[in-house]
């Protein structure tokens, strides 16, 4: 049976690369993005790269109902890619920025996925692939509000995965390291920056191999294993 993918946050570079890959494999795509003009541009691109049917909608309507209708006759899948990472100093200075960071990286994704899960459960066999972050593995001085939001998302996805095991929906948590996107462009201290398409390829491989949680690129597993094991009384003094 053919697949239908809902792409949440389609304007992000990783989502663009991911959608191009599923388009080339012949999947239908419903994409959701804030910038409507850009969403239409992306829809045209995905069709010319092989998607038989591609439509763009905004975040304001009932996304779950729209996707249920769109995916009739196909296996529904979800790729969740939106997020935002303001500097910690910006969050410290502005309570609105703090609320927004929690909303965009935690509350909104959870609310959306919770509405979408029944759609996937009604036609089992699909997958939810959600972008978390290595920042969610441990709270750090430079990034702890964003990290906390992502950690919350990770915990939600763990529970959702357990639910999916019982109802035939695969849930994959992807923890990207530094990726060459608009989020990291021009930021100091970036290293081992991966191409968005490499992350997209890892996401698809994780679905095929039925993985639960992956680091992308894979070597971030090693880096984060070390970071997670530094004793807290030392870690709290580190300037990272």
């Amino acid at each position: 049976m053919k697949s239908a993918w809902l792409i949440l946050g389609a304007s992000s570079a990783i989502a663009r690369a991911f959608a191009r890959r599923v388009a080339a494999s012949g999947a239908d795509i419903l994409l959701v993005a804030r910038d409507g003009e850009d969403a239409n541009t992306l829809a045209a691109d995905f069709v010319l790269r092989g998607s038989p049917s591609c439509k763009a909608i905004g975040f304001d309507g009932d996304v779950a109902a729209a996707f249920r209708d769109f995916a009739q006759g196909a296996v529904p899948n979800v790729f969740l890619a939106f997020g935002s990472m303001p500097a910690q100093s910006e969050i410290d200075a502005d309570p609105a920025a703090l609320a927004q960071t929690l909303d965009v990286n935690f509350a909104s994704p959870v609310a959306l996925l919770h509405r979408l899960m029944p759609v996937l459960e009604a036609a089992p066999g699909g997958a939810i692939v959600a972008l978390g972050s290595v920042a969610g593995d441990r709270g750090r001085l430079k990034n702890y509000v964003y990290g906390a939001a992502k950690a919350g998302l990770h915990a939600y996805l763990q529970g959702l995965r357990a639910r999916g095991v019982r109802s035939g929906v695969q849930v994959v948590t992807v923890k990207p390291g530094f990726v060459d996107t608009a989020m990291t462009w021009g930021l100091p201290g970036m290293f081992l920056v991966a191409a968005p398409d490499a992350i997209a390829a890892s996401c698809l491989a994780a679905v095929a191999k039925k993985r639960d949680t992956i680091y992308a690129p894979f070597f971030w597993w090693g880096i984060m294993t070390i970071i997670r094991h530094i004793p807290e009384r030392i870690f709290k003094k580190l300037n990272i």
């Binding site: 304007s11 045209a44 691109d45 462009w185 021009g186």
Partner: protein
């Protein structure tokens, strides 16, 4: 949202004369507008950075990296007309349209180049006699102008901007989207390969191929001298009805910069000798995937690292038919006398002028060769430039890193008209590059 600028060091593919600039990389069209309004310093668009010289860098000022504006927008299979954003690469065109039976009308030597860059340099391929240069296939483009307005530019609308932008090296503004015609074609070509003994035989082979071959190209052993001067390998090709799409060839990375002694007259001479001997003495036909024929060097990712940290120059000139033979002979003599470690030089015929005021092509013969940046390199480059200009030719701006402002003025008779157009549309010179400053484009008019 504000524009995020990244401090970067940029050079061309030849890795010579890098400069520092602030680079923005918009991922949506709306962000591109903000890039221009966010700065009062000058700006230049950069595609994949495959121009050899200083065309897509802008020292101490700003650069707009266009690689993320890479969406295909519309395609009409009845006419072959494709609309897309400027950052789309030739690789994408092949992947998306060869299965539909269409190919890029003109392809430069690398599939990693963007179509925006192809328009700005009015690039040509191995089919110039038959199909002209890239600009010949462009129907319109949307240009972000210095006043912040975006205009749809075509031969009928803002025709002065059309003529100045095709081949205009990005100096008129930023091409956001463009429409051009793809040609019917397949994923394979049938190539006829033949070893060529000397320059006379080369010119005779080209003359015969010009009228009836779709693609033709010559590889010259630039180190051969005396009776062997101008020996090489000649290829012509036609689209072949292939059963399947060409698989993407795996790229071999060049993991590090080679030390300066790795490429010597001896090692490169041995490679050239091998390449020549490998080609059949009598004409022989074979089928080849389009990639392998169009982009033989793309199999070596980052092959510019072969020339080491000091980088290299690529010389490319075109000389009118009437003087081509004598001038090519003199240029090859200069190269072999200098003994520089030049790999195979490329010889092609061009069919006629392009549509742009600074379009490179004219009816004649073009010679391209690499010159490693070693002692004596700039002297050789200057001598080659002199020989080309003396024969009524010109230097290709997509390759140029060294030519003198006077050579540009002598080689490009429409330069004054180009400068007048710039004065009309961009009096503050919002768009500028290291190339435009080096060549003093726009500075001659009082």
């Amino acid at each position: 949202m504000s524009v995020r600028w990244k401090n970067s060091t940029l050079a061309g593919w030849g890795r010579f004369a890098a400069t520092h600039a602030r680079v923005a990389r918009p991922e949506r069209q709306s962000e591109l507008d903000r890039v221009l309004s966010d700065t009062s310093a000058s700006l230049i668009a950069r595609g994949a950075g495959k121009a050899y010289g200083d065309a897509a860098q802008n020292g101490a000022a700003n650069v707009a990296n266009m690689q993320r504006l890479d969406r295909l927008l519309a395609f009409d299979a009845a006419t072959g007309v494709l609309e897309c954003e400027a950052g789309v690469t030739f690789r994408t065109l092949l992947d998306a349209f060869v299965p539909k039976g269409f190919v890029p009308p003109v392809s430069p030597g690398t599939a990693f180049a963007t179509v925006g860059g192809a328009l700005a340099a009015d690039v040509h391929g191995k089919n110039h006699d038959r199909h002209g240069s890239f600009g010949d296939h462009v129907l319109w483009f949307d240009l972000l102008c210095a006043d912040g307005q975006t205009r749809r530019v075509s031969p009928d609308s803002h025709s002065d901007l059309f003529a100045a932008t095709i081949g205009g090296m990005g100096l008129t503004g930023i091409v956001r989207r463009l429409a051009f015609r793809l040609l019917p074609g397949t994923g394979h070509v049938r190539v006829e390969t033949q070893r060529i003994a000397d320059l006379d035989a080369f010119f005779a082979a080209f003359e015969a191929a010009r009228a009836n071959a779709t693609f033709s190209v010559g590889w010259i052993d630039a180190l051969a001298r005396g009776a062997k001067l101008g020996r090489g390998v000649f290829e012509t090709a036609e689209f072949a009805p292939a059963a399947s799409v060409a698989p993407v060839a795996k790229t071999l990375p060049i993991p590090l910069d080679l030390p300066p002694f790795a490429l010597s007259r001896l090692s490169v001479g041995a490679f050239n000798e091998f390449y020549w001997r490998r080609a059949p003495a009598q004409k022989r036909a074979s089928s080849r995937p389009l990639d392998a024929f169009f982009y033989p060097l793309d199999r070596l990712a980052d092959w510019n690292r072969l020339y080491g940290k000091r980088g290299f120059f690529q010389f490319q000139s075109v000389v009118p038919d009437a003087t081509a033979f004598a001038a090519t002979r003199k240029m090859l003599e200069a190269v072999s006398a200098a003994g520089t470690a030049s790999f195979l030089a490329v010889l092609k015929t061009l069919g006629g002028p392009g549509r742009g005021l600074l379009s490179f092509p004219l009816r004649g013969v073009t010679l391209a060769l690499d010159v490693p940046n070693a002692p004596g390199a700039t002297a050789l480059m200057a001598e080659l430039e002199r020989l080309a200009l003396e024969a009524g030719g010109r230097i290709y701006l997509a390759k140029d890193a060294l030519q003198a402002p006077a050579s540009l003025r002598a080689g490009y008779p429409h330069l004054a008209a180009f400068e007048e157009t710039l004065l009309r549309w961009d009096p503050q010179r919002r768009f500028a590059s290291d190339l435009s400053r080096r060549l003093r484009i726009g500075e001659a008019t009082p």
